[in-house]
């Protein structure tokens, strides 16, 4: 929807669309500027206006239709832009006009041709290309782990909507072609040259002044001038740095996104595990994980945000957004700290539970110590690589916080001591946890002692860093053989330290006052 304006062109009255009006006005102004130096500038504009009126009259003589954007475009095409006029083209004037008509590089959202928020349409208007291509580009970027979506949302927030006609015109950029690029570069160079010349003039003037007081003031001017001259250079450097920071942040966000998406199953059961075994339920775990992720993402998004704002020069008030993000971030921080403390408290105290039992004297006076079954992770549905030796299988938490020691028995009996420890919010709580989990060694066919290969915690039990120390006491001059499978749980002590690895496992060992000795 656009307003219609009534205008008098060359003595004729026309209804003209607001957007078309601004375009026509800009065109006539460019002619005015072009001939501002000639005495009859106004007359030329009037003549041209009369011709435009004539063309419009011809076109609209039978209808009451208003002059639209396209009609103005047509007129401009017929009449030609002032820089296309054949005639007295002094280069001085040329550069003057091109500088005047140089368009600003502001970006606006085009709500008139929007699909979602008009971001793509805005870019399309700026670069004079079909919005379809930009939309496709965003769509493709979306499949790169949502980068397109993130970028779109950010742009949606920071790009203002083109509301006024002036903004709508500003939104429309010049067609990008070699000529334009060349023009822009030339203009930039010319501007720089002018600035440098001015600066040089200033320097000359400053040093030719005799008035000391004035000189003082001029030194200030000089510095100001120098700053003005160097400014563009710093601006470019700053832009490059900001751009680099933005790219890094974007990469980090994308990598986090990839991590979450591709390892979704993994992340999901991590959180599940967390909820059921560490926290007080799934919700708490989700809250913690979400907060932790947000804690990292929000500042990154904020940086990307400000970078784009800086680079595009959009001065849109994003107070609400930054305030909201700030509050959200603070909430996340509080949540993480609070949950951290809550969970930390559950691990404050250590409790123990010790069982000791004698085992029947093995036949042949040798005890064979082995694991129930070697740990194979292959069949297990999930493996937490990050927590070493910690697995979840059908909601049962399985881990291998097991230590095995071989010591010398004080008497003539084979003895096994099972020392369990766990943590808790209080000493009693910890002791309870240590008591609650089952871990039993068992003896088969007299001479074989079987050690379970893992600690298993049911889903209704919490994980509280449960640990098991198994001490096998072998009487002096009796024998023991340790299976290779026990290797990963074996603790080195005074009785085994003399033995080499190959000697320790799979060999018949004799307990002597100086420790275990291999028997060949």
């Amino acid at each position: 929807m656009n307003k219609l304006i009534q205008v008098n062109i060359g003595g004729m009255i026309f209804q003209i669309d607001e957007l078309a009006y601004h375009k026509l006005d800009a065109y006539l102004n460019s002619i005015k500027r072009r001939y501002a130096s000639s005495a009859d500038g106004d007359e030329i504009v009037k003549d041209i206006e009369a011709r435009i009126a004539e063309l419009f009259t011809e076109k609209f003589k039978d209808t009451n239709a208003a002059v639209m954007d396209a009609d103005v475009e047509e007129i401009i095409a017929v009449m030609g832009k002032p820089e296309d006029y054949e005639g007295d083209t002094s280069s001085e004037q040329k550069s003057h006009t091109s500088q005047q008509t140089h368009k600003s590089s502001k970006f606006y959202r085009d709500k008139d041709n929007d699909f979602l928020g008009g971001v793509c349409a805005g870019f399309a208007a700026k670069f004079n290309i079909d919005a379809l291509w930009i939309r496709l580009a965003f769509l493709v970027a979306f499949f790169f782990f949502g980068t397109g979506l993130l970028l779109y949302i950010i742009l949606w927030i920071i790009m203002p909507e083109a509301k006024t006609t002036a903004e709508k015109l500003e939104m429309r950029g010049e067609k990008v072609n070699i000529d334009n690029i060349e023009k822009t570069v030339k203009e930039g160079a010319a501007q720089f040259k002018t600035k440098m010349n001015e600066f040089g003039e200033e320097v000359k003037q400053t040093f030719s002044r005799e008035n000391v007081n004035k000189t003082k003031k001029n030194v200030g001017d000089l510095i100001e001038g120098a700053v003005e001259t160097v400014k563009p250079v710093f601006n470019i450097i700053a832009r490059i740095i900001v751009f680099a920071i933005m790219v890094v942040c974007l990469i980090v966000v994308v990598v986090i996104g990839i991590e979450l998406f591709t390892n979704w199953g993994n992340s999901f059961s991590n959180v599940q595990f967390f909820g059921s075994h560490i926290g007080n339920g799934g919700n708490q775990a989700w809250l913690l994980v979400t907060s932790a992720i947000a804690l990292v993402i929000i500042p990154l998004v904020g940086i990307i945000f400000s970078s784009i704002k800086y680079l595009t020069g959009v001065k849109r008030k994003t107070k609400y957004v930054s305030t909201t993000l700030g509050i959200l971030w603070t909430l996340c921080l509080i949540t993480v700290i609070w949950l951290g403390i809550t969970i930390g408290r559950e691990f404050r105290y250590e409790g123990n539970s010790t069982e000791r039992f004698n085992i029947a004297a093995p036949a042949g006076e040798m005890l064979y110590v082995k694991l129930e079954s070697p740990v194979s992770t292959g069949n297990w549905h999930h493996h937490h690589e990050k927590w070493d030796k910690l697995y979840v299988q059908n909601d049962t938490l399985i881990f291998q916080n097991i230590h095995v020691d071989i010591e010398k028995s004080a008497d003539t009996l084979y003895t096994v001591i099972i020392h369990k420890s766990a943590r808790g919010a209080s000493y009693e709580d910890a002791e309870q946890h240590a008591d609650d989990f089952n871990f039993g060694v068992f003896q088969t066919s007299d001479s074989v002692l079987i050690i379970p290969s893992s600690i298993r915690i049911n889903e209704d039990q919490p994980w509280r860093d449960q640990e098991v120390y198994i001490t096998v006491r072998v009487p002096q001059d009796k024998y023991v053989m340790i299976d290779k499978t026990v290797d990963e749980f074996m603790d080195d002590n005074e009785y085994t330290s003399d033995l080499k690895e190959i000697e320790l496992y799979g060999n018949k060992l004799r307990m002597t006052p100086g420790g275990l000795k291999p028997v060949y």
């Binding site: 003595g11 041209i48 009369a50 054949e86």
Partner: protein, 115 residues
């Protein structure tokens, strides 16, 4: 001076000459001048005519008078001044000489393009 500039200079001179020639036929208003120029494919941007007429007027080669129109506001009708007529005669003479010289010197070019 680059190629584009040379062409522009050439066209500019020819355009001035043609406009003066058209006006010499009798009083005429700009739209008709434009029509004539367009017929002969000499004009690209219509807007070009107005500053040119203005300049020729400032040089006192042209004068104009307002004539009422029954289809709109009054129109400017241009005519040559005495000075303008002399100037046109001078231009015409130069043009004939130039045209002759050009046709002799570019004969080989013409035959080339005709092939």
């Amino acid at each position: 001076m680059n190629v584009e500039n040379a062409q522009a200079q050439m066209r500019k001179g020819v355009l001035e000459f043609c406009i003066l020639a058209i006006i010499s036929e009798g009083e005429i208003y700009p739209t008709d001048i434009i029509g004539r120029l367009k017929e002969s494919n000499l004009l690209v941007a219509e807007g070009t005519v107005y500053p040119l007429l203005n300049r020729l007027k400032t040089m006192e080669l042209l004068s104009y008078q307002w004539v009422e129109s029954n289809s709109g506001p009054p129109r400017k009708y241009y005519q040559l001044t005495d000075k303008g007529r002399q100037f046109l005669a001078g231009l015409n003479k130069t043009w004939q000489e130039l045209s002759n010289a050009v046709s002799i010197n570019t004969k080989h070019l013409k035959t080339q393009t005709n092939e």
